[in-house]
């Protein structure tokens, strides 16, 4: 089943999402990238209804990019998150709402602080020290309650993330398999191999 995690640390955010594209009981693809780069310091992991996810993520990606072209500066993470949340909340009361859950991880280059937002398809948004979506969240959140440290270095953060992935692999009936992991910090965004 689809699973995504994100954790904050000292000056960085790690976002991880599984790479399977499944339809019913069949795995159609095992190298799908479900984390979009919205701006030089903003990542968005998306999951939910197939079709809605890509359509919505691309809509957000293009509009965040348009803002940056028009104003020469990208939206800061709190502003971007508010706008994305509003898009989902307005969609919720429309004829065909988007069923997309998000984790938004960004580094604010003006205040030098990392921000992580947990957003669901209803438009519920909250800033969290760590967050997760999908069936994996039931295992990962309680594990992170015990092991998460907001002052941890990147190396320690990656170890904690590995614990999450291992726990889900151990206890969840349908294990997602591979994950894509991206980090955002003061230097921007990069993908890392576990």
């Amino acid at each position: 089943m689809e699973t995504s995690f994100a954790i904050t640390g000292k000056g960085y955010i790690i976002v991880a999402a599984d790479t399977t594209a499944a339809r019913s009981i069949v795995k159609m693809k095992t190298d799908e990238d479900k984390i979009k780069t919205l701006s030089p310091h903003l990542l968005m992991a998306y999951s939910g209804e197939p079709g809605d996810t890509i359509q919505f993520a691309e809509y957000i990606e293009r509009n965040i990019r348009l803002y940056q072209i028009r104003n020469n500066y990208p939206l800061r993470p709190p502003a971007a998150a508010s706008w994305i949340r509003r898009s989902l909340a307005e969609s919720l009361r429309s004829r065909k709402p988007y069923a997309v859950n998000l984790l938004l991880g960004g580094y604010d280059t003006t205040t030098y602080t990392p921000h992580l937002y947990w957003v669901d398809y209803l438009g519920t948004m909250t800033e969290v020290p760590f967050g997760a979506h999908g069936y994996g969240s039931y295992f990962a959140l309680s594990l992170l309650d015990r092991y998460h440290d907001p002052e941890a270095s990147l190396e320690e953060g990656i170890v904690t993330l590995k614990r999450c992935i291992d726990e889900v692999a151990k206890r969840l009936v349908v294990t997602p398999g591979k994950y894509k992991v991206k980090v955002v910090d003061k230097d921007g965004i990069r993908e890392i191999e576990l």
Partner: protein, 208 residues
């Protein structure tokens, strides 16, 4: 599964002697799964009005933004701050606009309103999700722990409490009520509004 209980959360407001208090829990959940322990449900409207918004979390944020917009427009047009009574009717009519497709929120308003003599008197009110106003003289409750809050508040509240005593009363009411509710808790935020200042405190609660 009721939509009003989807995210959980509770708010209470109480009247004291020349002061009012409003308190909420800090939990945000997805049904039984806790997601955040720092989800604010009470927002300042003016220097002496606070608004509590328990209910569906997406509507908490949406309505917070909508009321901020409408109060700002009022302030600019009238060139003065909105009064709590007026604000209560603004809340009511905003919710009734969506009579047949409502916001899933039960607002609680606490503030100090101006008297004709120039003084300030305490004011509390609450509405249901379609804006039916309830002006109470003692206390108002809303949210998933509302039935428990009624019970505890009925036992602890008394008239003319001083700010510090009112703080103790509302804090104990809130803490003990949310401990009996699975969907509320994870910390409490309390605001006591007096004539000249607002005292805001965060309380630690049980994390189970």
């Amino acid at each position: 599964m009721s939509i009003m209980e989807y995210n959980g959360g509770s708010v209470i407001a109480m009247v004291g002697k020349d002061c009012v208090a409003i308190a909420s829990d800090l939990r945000l959940g997805n049904q039984a799964l806790g997601v955040s322990s720092n989800f604010q449900k009470i927002f300042p409207v003016t220097d002496r009005i606070y608004l509590g918004l328990p209910g569906l979390a997406t509507d908490v944020t949406t309505l917070r933004e909508l009321f901020r917009y409408r109060v700002n427009m009022y302030t600019v047009k009238e060139e003065r701050d909105i009064e709590p009574e007026t604000f209560a009717h603004l809340v009511s009519s905003t919710l009734y606009e969506r009579r047949f497709g409502p916001f899933f929120i039960e607002p609680v308003i606490a503030g100090m309103s101006k008297t004709p003599a120039g003084g300030l008197k305490p004011f509390i009110a609450a509405t249901d999700l379609i804006g039916c106003l309830n002006f109470a003289k003692d206390f108002v409750v809303a949210g998933t722990a509302s039935s428990k809050l009624f019970g505890v508040a009925e036992g602890l509240w008394e008239p003319d409490l001083e700010p510090e005593d009112l703080f103790e009363t509302i804090s104990q009411t809130m803490l003990n009520a949310v401990d009996r509710d699975a969907y509320s808790g994870w910390g409490v935020m309390v605001h006591v509004i007096t004539k000249d200042k607002v005292i805001s405190r965060t309380l630690k609660g049980r994390m189970d």
